[in-house]
Symmetry: C2
Subunit: 181 residues, 2 copies
């Protein structure tokens, strides 16, 4: 692991800015598979929305085989959670300077694409599902972004599996006597 402080030179895409601090991980702990691709109108990071909007442009999610059958029953949800891999993002910034004004903020206090595990999450409005194609509004990622997952919006989903003890547990004390405070 190595720490680097930003030089403050011209910054628009992946350069490091003055007041930013970086850490470079050298190994990975788990592997992801790309299960599809997100098609949006945005082909440059200078155009993409900072945040998606429910009345934004129609976007297409193309699901790859063998995962097309896993779309069954998703059409009943008005909103879906979309997880995607921000494949062009740098992953080493601990502190970032979003306004590039010499001040910095912790990476976890931002929804910037630059993060140790650059996973984007969005709540998208479902328009249609036809075969392998899911049409939605509300995304904010680049055209060609790899897809990681789709799930019903947590606010619309009721578990089908029977409840478990933890579902009824509130406040403290915790179930496990060894649980560290």
């Amino acid at each position: 692991m190595e720490f680097v402080e930003g030089s403050g030179r011209m910054v628009r895409e992946n350069e490091i800015r003055k007041a930013e601090v970086s850490a470079l991980p050298s190994t990975t702990d788990a592997g992801l598979i790309f299960i599809g691709r997100v098609r949006t109108p945005w082909t440059s990071r200078m155009e993409t929305p900072r945040q998606g909007r429910a009345d934004g442009p129609l976007c297409r999610i193309e699901v790859f085989e063998p995962w097309v059958a896993a779309l069954a029953d998703l059409e009943q949800y008005e909103r879906i959670e979309v997880l995607y891999w921000l494949h062009l993002s740098r992953r080493d910034l601990v502190l970032q300077s979003p306004a590039n004004d010499g001040t910095s903020r912790g990476t976890f206090s931002l929804r910037s694409p630059a993060r140790p595990n650059p996973i984007g999450t969005a709540i998208a409005h479902l328009v249609s599902i036809e075969g392998a194609i899911v049409r939605v509004r509300g995304l904010d990622c680049l055209d060609g972004t790899p897809l990681l997952d789709l799930k019903p919006d947590r606010e619309l989903f009721t578990p089908i599996a029977p409840p478990q003890p933890g579902d009824f547990q509130v406040g403290d004390p915790s179930l496990s006597p060894s649980f560290p405070r």
Copy 2:
């Protein structure tokens, strides 16, 4: 890639059930790093809540170095999005039978931990941040679950970086003439 249909034998944790369909991916496309660990009261998958609740038990998120400094400024958000790696989940199920009743649903229509990229997302209520320890309520994962990311709840976050053209774009036509419908 290989397809397998479930046998319907005794099923509680990772076994495949009757009416379930599996696909086994053989490669990975991107790597994750574990940036911390989630401590919860639940040490068995038979106990964990199906869904976290805002008044649930206190849980502790332990952030590893060098990412502790990235927690700066997160304390201003009442709710945070927590991403974690469901390390014990099987990843091959295309169709699942949550009630184990012979009927099945598409994996993407469920919030089951079994999914091709087993990433859990939760909106947790922030209680405190002290050093490397973030205390929250509202999680539903096993004790020891690897942490992937923390970010402000999207509903509470306003981007600090200046707006881009996509932020103002609504409906259709899309910006890009080559955008496929």
